[in-house]
């Protein structure tokens, strides 16, 4: 009895998971995606998925790509890298997708990398850390700016203001931990002294102990917070509560309208590097990104009635780079598409101007970051 049910369950499970398998000749182009739509990284994965769904729909309405429709096959890894690995296998072996756009976190991305390398499938990651594209992996690309760029941008700005003694407060999430490492390296390179180096947990509700320590550290001239999501907003509040008057910088992980709302008055004067997307309406008309950023912003907020974040923008860029590559390759042949992605030149996206090469699978330079400041509850461009 037991044994029979065991077999039935296996087959039933197999049928249940394999139900979505059409295989006609007029195939759509399949865009695979594994995103962290739930779990701790959900606030990244959620807008990413929404963006992909929105634009796949839009592209299809406009006649698709290469005369074929696009089909989005997406799975939620629940912010668990091991699940991402499993779903990547499903995309590769079962759904037989033509490209993967996704991998919300660095952990998820890195767990998928060996699979796409082996399957020789183009993969555009939406995660931040430098390790994804350094060293260069043949089939792996990414669209978001790296944490290293963020650290460099912030330190640049600090140096302009003659701030060289900095307290670092980083989150213990993957984003924060990688950011901490890059920031430490960048500080040494740029002649910045980290006089304090504290961390907080992504689910912490009170950062005043760490901030008190920083406040009482001698010689601090500025504070740099490397985190994502709600934590940094709480840092702002604690900062204000303690009455710390030093310049406060955040990383690009909080580049969303939500951050301003959550911080309330405590956010005033805070600076951070971010893509032009957030200040699309404030860009000069001559700015090449203005059109793209405004259009994306409009489309997203009209459809979902919520504010844009730069994370959704990364998904937009990833999808558009893939689509662009399909067009230039003239087919979905994986090797050709890969080559086309690598040959992406001058693509203007929400994240900046992308110039990929055999040695650079991200293709963004420092100009992609703008230094923003919160003023009167809105972003303004510094400089």
């Amino acid at each position: 009895m037991v044994k029979h049910s065991l077999f039935k369950i296996v087959t039933a499970a197999a049928i249940a998971v394999g139900a979505s398998l059409p295989a006609h000749a007029a195939d759509p182009i399949k865009i695979g995606s594994v995103l962290s739509v739930t779990g701790p990284a959900a606030f990244l994965g959620d807008p990413e998925l929404k963006t992909l769904q929105l634009y796949v729909e839009k592209l299809n309405k406009d006649g698709g790509v290469l005369g074929r429709q696009l089909q989005l096959v997406h799975y939620d890894d629940g912010s668990d890298a091991s699940k991402a690995n499993g779903f990547a296998k499903r995309l590769i072996d079962d759904d037989k997708v033509d490209v993967i756009v996704g991998g919300t976190t660095t952990g998820s991305t890195m767990s998928m990398v060996p699979l796409v390398e082996k399957a020789e499938l183009p993969f555009i990651s939406l995660a931040g850390a430098v390790v994804i594209v350094e060293p260069v992996k043949k089939w792996v690309f990414k669209t978001p700016h790296t944490d290293r760029m963020a650290a460099e941008k912030v330190f640049d700005d600090m140096k302009k203001r003659n701030l060289t003694k900095v307290a670092l407060l980083s989150e213990t999430s993957g984003f924060g931990a990688s950011g901490k490492k890059e920031t430490e390296a960048m500080a040494a390179k740029m002649g910045i002294t980290l006089v304090a180096n504290e961390t907080y947990g992504p689910k912490d509700t009170d950062m005043t102990p760490q901030l008190t320590k920083i406040k009482n550290t001698a010689g601090v001239q500025a504070v740099f917070v490397f985190g994502l999501g709600q934590g940094p907003a709480l840092v702002n509040k604690g900062y204000k509560q303690l009455g710390i008057a030093l310049p406060l910088y955040h990383a690009h992980g909080v580049a969303s309208e939500e951050f301003i709302k959550l911080s309330g008055p405590a956010g005033e004067g805070v600076r951070l590097p971010a893509a032009a997307l957030l200040v699309a309406d404030k860009l000069p008309a001559s700015d090449p990104q203005k059109a793209v950023a405004t259009a994306y912003r409009k489309a997203y907020s009209e459809r979902y009635k919520e504010d844009v974040s730069t994370f959704g923008g990364h998904a937009y860029d990833g999808l558009m780079i893939a689509v662009d590559a399909f067009k230039r390759a003239g087919s979905t042949d994986k090797a050709k598409v890969r080559d086309a992605i690598e040959a992406t030149k001058g693509y203007i996206g929400t994240g900046g101007k992308v110039n990929m090469s055999a040695t650079d699978h991200m293709g963004l330079d420092q100009s992609a970051f703008r230094m923003l400041e919160i003023k009167n509850g809105d972003w303004i461009l510094v400089n």
Partner: protein, 291 residues
């Protein structure tokens, strides 16, 4: 240096009061039914999220708060009626998994309904910090502490001075015996779940201006509440409150003086040590098993 210590202390007490409220919720349900309700954290989340939602929809503050406390209480009763009561005689792990299932359902529904973003609303009496001995304290923290204290007093009065409270204690001791002396134990269980859910929700409502809220804040709060409840000795209300404060203060001190990276580990190391030397928590009763 004193001001630094005070600052850590304030931080610890505020966070600790949260844990205390969560731990009290655990204790109330545990006392009535011997169930550890792993969905306790979700009631805290519900309180904050619902208060945000109702304020957003333009309801006046008192009404929004009332609804944000009443709805979780109903959810608590439903949980008891539909999930705990039918499986009452099951083993400890089975009940744990039922409550974990319930927490997933609550969290999932809120996530679908109100989204994944974080939310907040203004503090009840402004956000201008109060200066005290060189350290600062938010007015909202006083709200949290004050209400926690009120709750503790009310509960103490209820359990030691009213018949209904004694009925609940009797039910936890021996359900059958309680029924024999005419206590409606079904009602007792229902009320206990409602009360503990409401308590969690109150915590959520008060905390949100300080800590923000989102669909998934309940997990960590629930876990820390459980730690606090065990530190205090399961089933001991005063122990739960002191346990909560202790865990909060130790966390803040660990973050301030030892290592902010390991501060989350400190409460768990603490609980292991406490249990090794006091197998029933600090304030737990010693019992002799009968053969």
């Amino acid at each position: 240096m004193l001001s630094q210590f005070l600052q850590f202390l304030f931080s610890g007490i505020t966070v600790g009061a949260t844990y205390a409220l969560a731990a009290l919720g655990f204790t109330l349900i545990y006392n009535a039914s011997n169930v550890i309700n792993f969905a306790q954290g979700e009631f805290i989340m519900l309180g904050g999220m619902l208060a945000f939602f109702f304020m957003q929809s333009g309801l006046p503050l008192p009404l929004a708060i009332l609804l944000a406390i009443a709805i979780p209480a109903v959810v608590g009763m439903l949980l008891e009626k539909l999930a705990i009561e039918p499986a009452r005689d099951a083993e400890v792990v089975t009940l744990i998994i039922i409550t974990i299932g319930a927490s997933l359902v609550i969290r999932g529904l809120i996530q679908i309904w109100l989204g994944k973003g974080a939310h907040s609303y203004p503090a009840f009496s402004g956000s201008e910090p109060i200066h005290l001995g060189g350290a600062t304290l938010l007015p909202q923290s006083l709200w949290v502490l004050g209400v926690t204290a009120l709750v503790v007093i009310a509960l103490w009065y209820f359990f030691s001075r009213t018949l209904a409270g004694k009925a609940i204690l009797a039910t936890s001791c021996n359900r059958l015996a309680a029924e024999l002396v005419g206590i409606n134990t079904q009602w007792v269980l229902l009320v206990s779940f409602a009360r503990s859910a409401a308590l969690g929700a109150i915590g959520g409502v008060l905390l949100t201006p300080i800590t923000l809220t989102s669909y998934d804040v309940g997990i960590m709060l629930g876990l820390k509440g459980f730690v606090a409840a065990v530190v205090g000795g399961l089933g001991n209300g005063l122990g739960a409150v002191l346990g909560g404060l202790l865990v909060g203060i130790i966390e803040a001190m660990a973050a301030g003086y030892i290592s902010s990276a390991y501060k989350d580990a400190v409460p768990f190391i603490l609980i292991l040590f406490i249990l090794f030397f006091m197998p029933r928590g600090i304030f737990g009763a010693q019992v002799t098993e009968r053969v």
